[in-house]
Symmetry: C2
Amino acid sequence: MQINRHFLEVADSYLFSTIAHKVNQYTAANPDKRVIRLGIGDVTRPLAPAVIDALHAAVDDMSKAETFHGYGPEQGYDFLKQSLQDYYASHGVKLDLEEIFVSDGAKSDVGNILDIFGADNLVLVPDPVYPVYVDTNVMAGRKVQYMNATEENGFLPLPDETVDADIIYLCSPNNPTGAVYTKEQLQKWVDYANEREAVILFDAAYECFITDPTLPRSIFEIPGAKTCAIEFCSFSKTAGFTGTRCGYTVVPKALVREDSSLNKMWLRRQTTKFNGVPYIVQKGAAAVFTPEGLPQIKDTIQYYLDNAKIIAQAMDELGIWYTGGTNSPYIWLKCPGNMKSWDFFDLLLEQANVVGTPGAGFGQNGEGFFRLTAFGNRENTQEAVERIKALLK
Amino acid sequence: MQINRHFLEVADSYLFSTIAHKVNQYTAANPDKRVIRLGIGDVTRPLAPAVIDALHAAVDDMSKAETFHGYGPEQGYDFLKQSLQDYYASHGVKLDLEEIFVSDGAKSDVGNILDIFGADNLVLVPDPVYPVYVDTNVMAGRKVQYMNATEENGFLPLPDETVDADIIYLCSPNNPTGAVYTKEQLQKWVDYANEREAVILFDAAYECFITDPTLPRSIFEIPGAKTCAIEFCSFSKTAGFTGTRCGYTVVPKALVREDSSLNKMWLRRQTTKFNGVPYIVQKGAAAVFTPEGLPQIKDTIQYYLDNAKIIAQAMDELGIWYTGGTNSPYIWLKCPGNMKSWDFFDLLLEQANVVGTPGAGFGQNGEGFFRLTAFGNRENTQEAVERIKALLK
């Protein structure tokens, strides 16, 4: 009996446990201090009323034999896929229903998609990075090569023609940096991938925060993307579904490699190893796109965007360099005075009682940077910003 | 760019699509006939009132910031894991909370568990078999060896000492045969696995149908199982959650292979590639085990068991050999007159207007056998049985 020894190569991540440990130690020693957390990537606003109504109605459906729902299609109910099709159409992307796969979240799909690829591909991942991209590949025994996201390229790396990547991870708006690719920049990636028959895995989990109409919300807005890209998205940030669990993955029918349709391979993977998202949850998700739901969702997104603006304005006042802050819930700032990430973490915690996330935790290029998030409530965000300004002025 | 070419080796399953095609053809040609379906493995009774109440309350929690739930623990909330711990304790199995992993269903976990094993293991699978066991291994490039389940061994194969298996799939009560291993029989498997350092993947999805107190509901009732077995279970059949999606997997801490804890490996897999079950669904699942929920669930299970008894009694009257029918929702019968599975399917469809599942669809040893399920409603089950009796007497 042989275990998968690649699991031994996966680095343990101590980022969030180290943060929790430091915060706990500080609060135990300073019980009178009120610590404000702007470190988390989780939402805090409740589900929209239209979603709540739809969830209640769906629960009632499950209480009667006539309206009970058992096994549904593994790839999602048509009522939800049609809503998603319309949503994409609203920003100019035409999709077939069979190209949309509903899932329990982008994290699952970003990990599970690797089932359809061979082990010997060269995987290109930005640094800094959402750790799941790296860990899932290491577990599967794949080689990962990093591309540098830095202050010089605005944390938006572009293709290096000397590197022959097979699988390329892009996330825009980016976690952790909040940086957003333009259409012209994404076109470069699409052209690079098509030339090499590579595949782009495009994480669009934060697309709903884009307000600038010139910025792409989907990679499929870029000509040529349907022959080289798979897109992952989620209701987690769009509609506060982090604890309700619903996402979707788009695999175009035109995406063919080694004479095999990746769309059909993913369908086979999902029908074999997944059994669909709860009927109740899919009903709730579909309510997001109704005439009642859409403005409610937009209000919440605006709430977070206003938080981001408050933080960004403070950075402007302090003369601190950052990415994100607009079109993103993240502010990725350069630690003042060339401080290291963890030193700045300690300073903010101890002197301002504000918790953020050290950029070094997301990769080597994150050293000297720091992430603040807009997912807190308004009052806490404003107070945290006042404290940071008082400390750093 | 290299696809996972093992996907090309996975056989397409036409079993249920062929059935649907034949039934559609028949009903189109005979619109006056009322066809009764006893072929499906899906439940038909609604969720229990206690579950419905808990789901509504959880939806309300999600509507207010104070009680909103974002990201939860990937391996499930303690409130649900504690209910499961108590449930196992009620049939004599002691588990640590850290040994219980809540998931979106047994099908997902049975497939995903393979992530933690190397590619070169010899996998032992019964024939006939639930196709997911085979397909998930073929997709990962593993060799599958079959063990014969036959009329002679009551469709309960025992270890063959000449075969050195690394991973062994057992399902009891079995899908598709309804056969249930005794404690003595499972002990033989546990001893075999411990001697060889193999791992048993034990699918207990139908344990709730066991009414005979001498039969094991969990492999962990067998001494030694905690050093060689992983158990998968589900709320799908226990509480009608096929469309609500909640299951659980038990990986004992004592299960170590090549100096690695499989419990820790599975935790790493789930925290990296899964983001937990919806809070709402976990609240509904926990209500199954409350003083209100338990008797409601037992009523529904008894309803299906009574259906099974009605079918089994008809087989007794007709002198037809079968497994299952008690302690299981399935009746696996030998086609009368040595008919082949698909011939018997056609006969039942055309002459009795009853749909079942040809045993040949589950593997070579299924040829000449046929599956009926107890998941229909009472009236249809009774009428189907009368029609079958009239046809075969």
